[in-house]
Point group: C2
Chain length 244, copies 2
DNA sequence: CGTGGGGTTGATTCTTATCAATTCGGGTGG
DNA sequence: CCACCCGAATTGATAAGAATCAACCCCACG
């Protein structure tokens, strides 16, 4: 992709063949890119100027900070993702959004998405689909947190990342600290370190300096109870004829 | 409500004033009620005949069973709720649906909802809103599972139920066994029992025979870190003029 | 060179699961 | 009415899992 192309178009284009009109509609969401440095707060929980963001480049995460200072990471966002759709239907953001790496993101008011999608039923469907996918991931995370011990939880998380990144290589980049991983999985960073060591000693995978190496994918899948279908089996959805 | 009235209409009617057309559209979703006895499997995970259900009366839950037999309860459904929207965008159900009590539910094919909502942009908005609400609850559950110890988790769960039931009385019915509660909260039933005892001894609440009594609401809210806004602050959403 | 953030390791403590035994209450059948 | 059974709830003992605390290493960076 050239650097000015819309990542959203690329993402959506994987799901449906977009018409030119749809593409130009989507492009209107990405008019105004802003830059955030690694660690920057992109959007604070409770801020009433409810915004969505398209993530042009870089990684981000959303998180909630509890009264006692504990954090729960709710989502990790990859380039091309829409951030904030989770809070659709609320008039304020329910979580903080933070840049994990240097980030280019385009904020736009919630209202805009309504306008765009009102013009194209097919894009509306796509939004449902994207929401469904997010919902499925969140559901899987509930299972992960509720019913799997640390090692399986971590293995499952790594595999989910691998699938989300469409990574078929053994090795891929994962720019997360062990603290962030812990906050996503409900574990302490110390325990993440120990658990990573365990996975390493089993010769299943390796993680350091933000690079994951999967040595034994089958073992990982088997051990963690990972089920690909929940991300793969997206319905053959577009029911509307492409609008002109 | 009279026994034949649409629960969905009642639910949606709380959010917007529905036009007659919208009401009759919604009513088409509830033509064919079926009865399920307590404990019946309403819909099995992976079943390809992807259906939604409107829950006319009674309670239900959705659950996933892991390879080792552990269960995670994903959702508790109240009368009037739409079941299955979570799996929108997938061509198969991702979880089992089970009746908690005797249940009247109306199954309808996923396609139907698309048809209905295609006819009314405002209902489409409402569906987004409902999905957003479910998403918010799931998010809150992630935080609950990831970052709160058993007692706070349980207290939070009870409060969420209270809010969802619009219950302002001290006492309300909650037809769940301790096993189900445990499976929802990632705890063993034994530990649920112990933890309930703890809350009881603190004079905060009491639960037995499917009836909850809240003795000290403030203490519960404070202790569990419960935040009402996440269910209350639904945006003043309907952007479309009511269609004729 | 210091300094600080991230990672590793070990010791200790707390939380929760697991197992086993007991109680309680509601059917069911004699 | 009683004996029996069954599912649910309770309780205690034990074991596993994970947090916390503290020390230390490593390395990038001023």
């Amino acid at each position: 992709m050239n650097s000015n192309s819309s990542c959203i178009i690329e993402q959506f284009g994987r799901l449906v063949d977009l018409t030119d009109k749809e593409k130009s509609l989507l492009r209107t969401l990405e008019k105004d890119p802003k830059h955030y440095a690694s660690g920057d707060l992109i959007c604070e929980a409770g801020s009433s100027a409810m915004c969505f963001f398209t993530l042009q480049s870089g990684w981000a995460y959303s998180t909630r900070v509890l009264a006692d200072g504990q954090r729960q990471v709710l989502d990790i966002f990859l380039p091309g993702q829409l951030m904030g759709v989770r809070d659709i239907g609320f008039n304020r953001s329910l979580s903080d959004f933070v840049a994990l790496t240097d980030v280019e993101a385009c904020p736009f008011p919630q209202r805009r998405i309504t306008e765009v999608f009102a013009e194209s039923p097919r894009l509306t469907d796509l939004l449902f689909l994207v929401l469904g996918r997010e919902h499925a991931m969140l559901t899987e995370r509930v299972i992960n947190l509720g019913r799997r011990p640390a090692a399986q939880r971590l293995a499952h998380f790594i595999l989910e990342m691998k699938v989300r990144l469409n990574q078929f290589e053994e090795e891929f980049e994962l720019p997360l600290t062990q603290t962030i991983i812990g906050d996503a999985l409900g574990l302490s960073s110390v325990h993440v370190s120990r658990t990573l060591k365990e996975l390493r000693q089993n010769q299943w995978m390796h993680f350091s300096d933000g690079v994951v190496t999967i040595n034994d994918l089958d073992a990982m899948v088997d051990f963690s109870g990972f089920n690909r279908t929940y991300l793969d089996s997206l319905v053959d959805w577009p029911r509307c004829p492409a609008d002109s």
